[in-house]
Amino acid sequence: MAIARRAEPVDLPVPVHAEAARAPGRRHLRRWLPIVIGAVMAAAMVIVAAAAPWIAPLSPSAQFSDAVLKGPGVVERHALGTDEYGRDILSRVIWGARVSLQVGLASVLFAFLIGVPLGIYAGYQGKRAEVAIMRGTDMLMAFPTLLLALIIVAALGGSLINEIVAIGVALTPNFVRLARGLTLTIRETDYVMAARGIGAGQLRVMARHVFPNALYGLIVVATLYIATAIRTEAGLSFLGLGVPPPTATWGNILSEGRQYIKCCPWITTFSGLAIMMAVLAFNIVGDALRDLLDPRLRGE
């Protein structure tokens, strides 16, 4: 089914071309450079988010009536300018990183913790359990991530926890599918046979043999889904369905700044740039990890 194809890159028979005739040093650089760049960017984002109270020059909610809608650098203390309430954009963007990364990391963790056991169970058990789990997954997968998250947030109301749950639930089917796909391959390997042969129970085989061997592939995809989660969070906030204002989130800043794009484009420019950098960082890391760890997934 076409819907099913979205997250099952494992069985794509993409050819792996040996990079012959290339100096080993350059190949090394070519492999590791993107990871380093992406990892540095992602780490910087995480540090900025964690250290927001110390790094941010001003409070994200402090209003300066003498500096309403001032451009970057016009008032010395506001390096990236201010919004319609005279709040410092730099500080708001720094604090916004907290919400984005919290939602990004927590929702992927949520999806991982629920989706992976279900997927491994479905793949390992087969039969009725598999049919039941995969049909449920197919139904959820009929909804694109943002749409499903939108439905859940609309029903639950916008808050940090609800956003995490909504995006987490929306991402879960992807993890179920991937974990099942990987399990189907691992199940047939000799070491699983051997483990079963010496009398290991189902739970033990799944936890000690299948899961660790599926982990690489799962982590790669998890990294890519952090990027998706951050983008979805920004989208929900932008639509006014995320963490409600006055909390600074990148989507909120962008959405509020939309009314002032004529006079004050800096509000939307910097918040949008922050979203893009965060998404880009995790995309680069995920892509590079995928190339590095699993050549089979390359090119998807």
Binding site: A142, F143, G272
Partner: protein, 334 residues
């Protein structure tokens, strides 16, 4: 073949039912009374009772559920709470706007994404070509469509003043002229209306198309990589065909088959993209209607919009699967 189509149809039905059930239960069972949400905490008991009765919420959930499924299949989603008239009528009016946006952005995405994917697959050993194209694909994947939309608006609408800031153009006019046959009587007016629609469509289509182009370029890259490793390509090369001919005559056509399968995924992404794109460009359409309905807590409208979205996605996937089986008969025997 017939068996495959029937089996595929049989799978689509429970999927549609399941997806619709998710919509229904998300809207009903989760915490919060729609009437309290709509009318506020201060609403009088009798007003709330009226509202509950109008929405049919006083009936048992099972009855509501069956009623919802039955009426949805007839495209009857009740009346909009805010606008008063039937939701289906509203959806019917908004659908063409979303349809043209999805189609236009698909054209942009294909024109940009497919050549980029092909070139990056063929020139993957040349870092001067491969790296910029990969960076483009990464940027496209990472750039939120609503931010790109705002940047385009700032540049082309506010600074250069070449494209409009809001609206969707006179699509209704175009459609009614087509329906009534006035298109032959007043071709000048018709072309003016079409131009107006395209004028309003350009920036949204570019914004959505560009973000989709990244996905398309990656998928066409992997499709191309798959095809050029096939035996018949080696044969073509071995008999001395020029590389140009190998690519254009042998590889390109075969590459389109795997690409076809992604149309389903593509439409799903594009439809979701319209939610954000239509909001940024203040364009009428299903996506903006959904966001407005959720914001206004207009439950019948939101439920109707989501149901229609889901139906479209499942339907498109069904059609794509069947097309795929037609193009590649091996599929139906698996």
């Amino acid at each position: 073949m017939v068996q495959f189509v029937l089996r595929r149809l049989l799978i689509a039905i429970p999927m549609l039912l399941g997806a619709m059930s998710i919509v229904f239960f998300a809207m009903r069972i989760l915490p919060g009374d729609p009437c309290v949400a709509m009318m506020g905490e201060q609403a009088t008991t009798s007003a709330l009772a009226d509202c509950t009765r109008n929405l049919g919420l006083h009936r048992p959930v099972a009855v509501q559920y069956v009623d919802y499924l039955w009426r949805s299949l007839q495209f009857d989603f009740g009346n909009s709470l805010r606008q008063g008239y039937p939701v289906s009528q509203y959806i019917g009016r908004m659908f063409p706007h979303t349809f043209v946006l999805v189609m236009a952005s698909a054209v942009v995405a294909a024109l940009v994404g497919i050549p980029i994917g092909i070139v990056s697959a063929l020139k993957r050993r040349n870092p001067l070509v491969d790296y910029p194209l990969r960076i483009f694909a990464l940027l496209g994947l990472s750039m939120p469509v609503f931010w790109l939309g705002i940047l385009l608006l700032i540049l082309f609408s506010l600074r250069l003043d070449v494209f409009p800031l809001i609206g969707g153009g006179d699509l209704d006019g175009v459609l009614s002229m087509l329906a009534s046959g006035e298109v032959f009587k007043y071709p000048g007016d018709f072309f003016a209306a079409v131009t107006d629609v395209l004028y309003h469509l350009t920036l949204p289509a570019i914004a959505l198309g560009f973000t989709l182009a990244a996905t398309v370029s990656r998928l066409s890259r992997s499709a191309m990589l798959e095809v050029i490793s096939q035996d018949y390509i080696r044969t073509a090369r071995a008999k001395g065909q020029a590389e140009r001919n190998v690519v254009y005559k042998h590889a390109l056509r075969n590459m389109m088959v795997p690409l076809l399968t992604i149309i389903g995924v593509f439409i799903a992404i594009a439809l979701t993209g319209t939610v954000l794109t239509e909001t940024v460009f203040t364009r009428p359409g299903l996506g903006k209607m959904l966001v407005d309905a959720i914001g206004a807590r207009d439950y019948p409208l939101a439920q109707g919009a989501i149901t229609v979205f889901t139906m479209i996605i499942i339907f498109v996937n069904l059609v794509v699967d069947m097309l795929y089986a037609v193009v590649d008969p091996r599929i139906s025997f698996r």
